[in-house]
């Protein structure tokens, strides 16, 4: 991180401010919380990477149904495991108050895209619905309901009728929902 573990340099701080939507206060708080997640040895590395398990212990992410997807999407490592501080800032920036609708919808799409293929097909949608309605057997929707729901969703949003929802169609649907921007928010 170009500085000691406990202190961010002024240049680095202003760079972070310039490239993300976060304020100085938020960046310093993020730094503090991030270093708490690191293990003792990792703290002395130049660009430490906090492991996924540690990140998932954050109270803001602990109960979030999409927590693993979030970490995967923002991770820049080869194995998509663990976040560097810059990834962490990216995450907070996309979920911050001042991020634009485009950024939020872009990352929302990537989070919902469970198989990382660039579109939301039926399997992605099914996983999405299961994520949001409950994992256990008695809280899930029945297979019939699921099929009906997915066909409703595709009917609403699939404009080119190819059976999947791509980014533009997703962003179009999102733009008609005024609650999205205020719901898609995580603040430390």
């Amino acid at each position: 991180m170009g500085a000691t573990a406990s202190h961010l340099g002024k240049d680095l701080l202003s760079e972070y401010q310039e490239l993300t939507f976060l304020t100085k206060q938020e960046i310093l708080l993020a730094h503090k919380r991030f270093t708490e997640l690191l293990s003792r040895e990792d703290k002395n590395l130049p660009d430490p990477r906090a492991p996924t398990e540690a990140i998932l212990t954050l109270p803001e992410l602990k109960s979030n149904p999409f927590r693993e997807r979030i970490v995967r999407v923002f991770s820049t490592s080869e194995s998509r495991d663990g976040l560097t501080f810059e990834d962490f800032l990216d995450l907070l920036s996309a979920f911050s108050d001042s991020a634009t609708l485009e950024i939020k919808s872009h990352y929302a799409f990537r989070i919902f895209d469970f198989d990382d293929d660039g579109t939301l097909d039926e399997h992605d949608l099914e996983k999405l619905v299961n994520c949001l309605t409950g994992e256990t057997g008695d809280t899930r929707l029945t297979p019939d309901e699921m099929k009906q729901l997915i066909s409703n969703i595709l009917e609403e949003s699939d404009i080119d009728k190819d059976g999947t929802v791509n980014l533009s169609e997703f962003q179009h649907v999102i733009s008609r929902s005024p609650d999205f921007v205020s719901s898609f928010k995580i603040v430390l």
Partner: protein, 654 residues
């Protein structure tokens, strides 16, 4: 996004995509056959290929996300502007232009000029990925020559894109550049890379033509921006009740949180108004007025003044009447008349400007074409509240969502079409409900008018006699007003239950509009009464009006507390101990926000007649905050509001 004249906005990706002309070709078929491929191309390449060869903007978004490069879906990078960016435009140039991508991997690579959507710095990460193990698994039988062509071709095209992006950014001013780079959906490293490239070319350009003026203005704007950022940081540091807000947001979600944020901002507004009124008007008055207030001999402070605002208070600086019309000629020449008028006027103008500004900014963020398609399932899924952190609350919300989804699906399958007879019936019911509610509002207004007149007559009949009973009579009108404001909305909610609305949103708006009509009509009638009757009868009518408003504010406070006690606390007790099946009532954000707005409107009307009224408001809001703050209840019983509430940043829009 640019706006149409009817107010809807232009989403370039949607309108300019050719997928609107129903692309009837089967999905995911590779549009071009790669003569070098020995087996079907891997999914990522098929997606890219199909993206690449169709002349469809959005299609190109179906690129893989690997390398954290943010994939193809970069509308932000998509189009290259065809003209120089001007400072009037809000969005960075590339978001405005139509996207006509026609990127071909093989063949005309450099047709990428017309806005491919692939990120420029894809190159670094793509090559990284391509060189990795993944490539081997993806191309099990691929031959190296094919791979190198693909890799080289992609890299060239991405490099070209990056160069164009950097060129565009160079043409922007610093502020636009910073905002534009922030909006790129890329990883941090890539944004930094782009920024460094832009800065490098900028400094090389600079060394060529030195412009002193440009330099000066740059540094000035930089220091200004730093100032603004510093102010924002300071404000954040002094944040009141931050811990509580986070707790409330974590357990109850963003809509309840927005109510408390609104309450906090109103409190701060009142503190500000108190400070300026006190310092500019009251302090000079107190400092000048060496003699004690000219109180008539038989009037002393009795406890009732706190309620009625009359009696002893009448002669204090609380009201307009106590301020002299002379100007002071002590150390400074201080004209208190002007000070009074201008302070209040400036405060009102500032308030008005602040409200308009926040309305405009939240409108920009939340504007929506029209009613979303039936409040469909997609909306339900996409508006999962990410700020809820309490585990039980999350589980509760999941349950609610499941129920809502099931309901919406059954509604869809049933209520496809209503018969004309039914439609007429619904329309008739709506009309009837509106008629009844408006007539109730008008009726209450009239009743209050006559009551005020009656009370006025009683007061003038025995003008000199300020006994306790006489003063207590003045409490009648505010009592009735607050009672009406409490009871009649309950009737409105009852009507709402009988009516059948096509969407939740319309239902909430109808309820809100009726409540607003009621409150505004009562206030309007009272104002009319004051201006036309009180002003003609009394010499110091401003003080009388000030007193009346004081009483209204006090009673509004009492009834709010009472309402909160009976409405929420008692129902909670009933719901938990006596009749568990009833559950805990939802926190009705809309109604509470409306109450806050009404209270603040009273204060704004009254500030001219009683400059120290904000003190009362501050006290009121503080108590209200701690009263309404939901304690972490047992989440089995708490039902977060099922309604489609606008989680709007600025509740004053409602």
């Amino acid at each position: 996004m640019s706006h149409y004249s009817d107010g809807s906005f232009y989403n370039p990706a949607y309108h300019d995509s050719e997928t609107l002309e129903l692309d009837r070709r089967p999905p995911f078929k590779p549009r071009h056959s790669n003569p070098y491929a020995q087996d079907p191309p891997p999914p990522w390449q098929a997606a890219r290929a199909s993206a690449v060869s169709t002349v469809t903007g959005p299609r190109a978004d179906a690129g893989p996300w690997e390398g954290g490069a943010g994939g193809g879906g970069l509308r932000a990078l998509g189009a290259l502007p065809l003209g120089p960016p001007s400072s009037q435009h809000q969005d960075p140039p590339w978001q405005r232009q139509p996207h006509h991508s026609s990127v071909h991997v093989e063949g005309s690579l450099h047709q990428a000029a017309a806005a491919s959507r692939v990120p420029a710095t894809f190159s670094a990460n793509m090559t990284m990925r391509l060189r990795g193990m993944r490539r081997m698994s993806m191309f099990p039988n691929g031959d190296p020559s094919h791979l190198s062509i693909t890799e080289g071709a992609i890299r060239n095209e991405l490099e070209y894109e990056e160069r164009n992006l950097v060129k565009e950014l160079l043409a922007c001013s610093t502020k636009e550049r910073v905002e534009a780079i922030r909006k790129l959906p890329m990883t941090y490293r890539e944004k930094k890379h782009i920024r460094n490239r832009v800065l490098a070319s900028k400094s090389s350009k600079k060394s060529r033509h030195l412009s002193c003026l440009a330099d000066c203005s740059e540094s000035l704007s930089l220091s200004f921006r730093r100032c603004v950022a510093g102010v924002a940081a300071a404000r954040q540091a002094l944040d009141l009740w931050q811990g509580t807000m986070k707790e409330v947001g974590g357990s109850f979600g963003s809509s309840v949180l927005s109510y408390f944020l609104f309450l906090k901002s109103l409190l701060l507004l009142n503190v500000f108004s108190f400070v300026i009124n006190f310092s500019f008007i009251t302090v000079p008055m107190l400092a000048y007025d060496h003699v004690p207030p000219n109180v008539p001999p038989n009037v002393t402070f009795r406890g009732l003044e706190l309620l009625t605002g009359a009696g002893y208070f009448r002669y204090t600086v609380l009201y307009y009447g106590a301020y002299t019309a002379d100007s002071f000629t002590g150390l400074l020449h201080y004209n208190i008349q002007l000070a009074y008028f201008f302070t209040i006027a400036a405060y009102m103008v500032l308030c008005g400007a602040a409200v308009l500004y926040s309305m405009a900014s939240s409108f920009k963020m939340n504007y929506v074409l029209s009613d979303p398609v039936g409040g469909g399932s997609w909306q339900l899924l996409c508006t999962w509240d990410f700020s809820v952190t309490n585990e039980k609350a999350v589980r509760q919300r999941k349950n609610n969502l499941r129920v809502q989804l099931q309901e919406s699906m059954s509604e869809r399958s049933q209520g496809a079409g209503l018969t004309p007879a039914e439609k007429l019936r619904h329309f008739g019911i709506h009309l009837g409900a509106w008629f009844v509610s408006t007539s109730m509002a008008v009726g209450c207004g009239n009743a209050i008018y006559y009551l005020s007149q009656y009370e006025q007559q009683r007061a003038t009949n025995a003008a000199a006699d300020w006994s306790l009973a006489r003063e207590a009579e003045t409490l009648l009108v505010p009592f009735v007003v607050s009672l009406v404001n409490l009871v009649v909305p309950l009737f409105y909610s009852l009507f709402n239950k009988f009516e059948l609305y096509s969407s939740q949103r319309r239902q909430i708006y109808a309820l809100i509009i009726r409540n607003v009509i009621l409150k505004m009509s009562i206030l309007g009638i009272l104002c009319y009464f004051w201006v036309h009757e009180v002003a003609l009868k009394f010499l110091c009518w401003e003080s009388m009006v000030g007193q009346a408003l004081y009483r209204l504010v006090v009673f509004d406070f009492f009834f709010m507390m009472l309402g909160s006690f009976f409405g929420e606390f008692l129902s909670k007790v009933i719901g938990t101990r006596w009749i568990p099946g009833l559950g805990v009532p939802e926190f009705d954000v809309a109604r509470n926000v409306l109450d806050l707005i009404y209270a603040q409107t009273l204060a704004w009307i009254g500030i001219y007649f009683s400059p120290l009224l904000p003190v009362l408001q501050i006290f009121k809001f503080l108590v209200l905050f701690y009263l309404k703050k939901p304690r972490p209840v047992d989440h089995r019983l708490l039902r977060p509001s099922n309604k489609f509430l606008r989680v709007s940043k600025n509740p004053s829009l409602e």
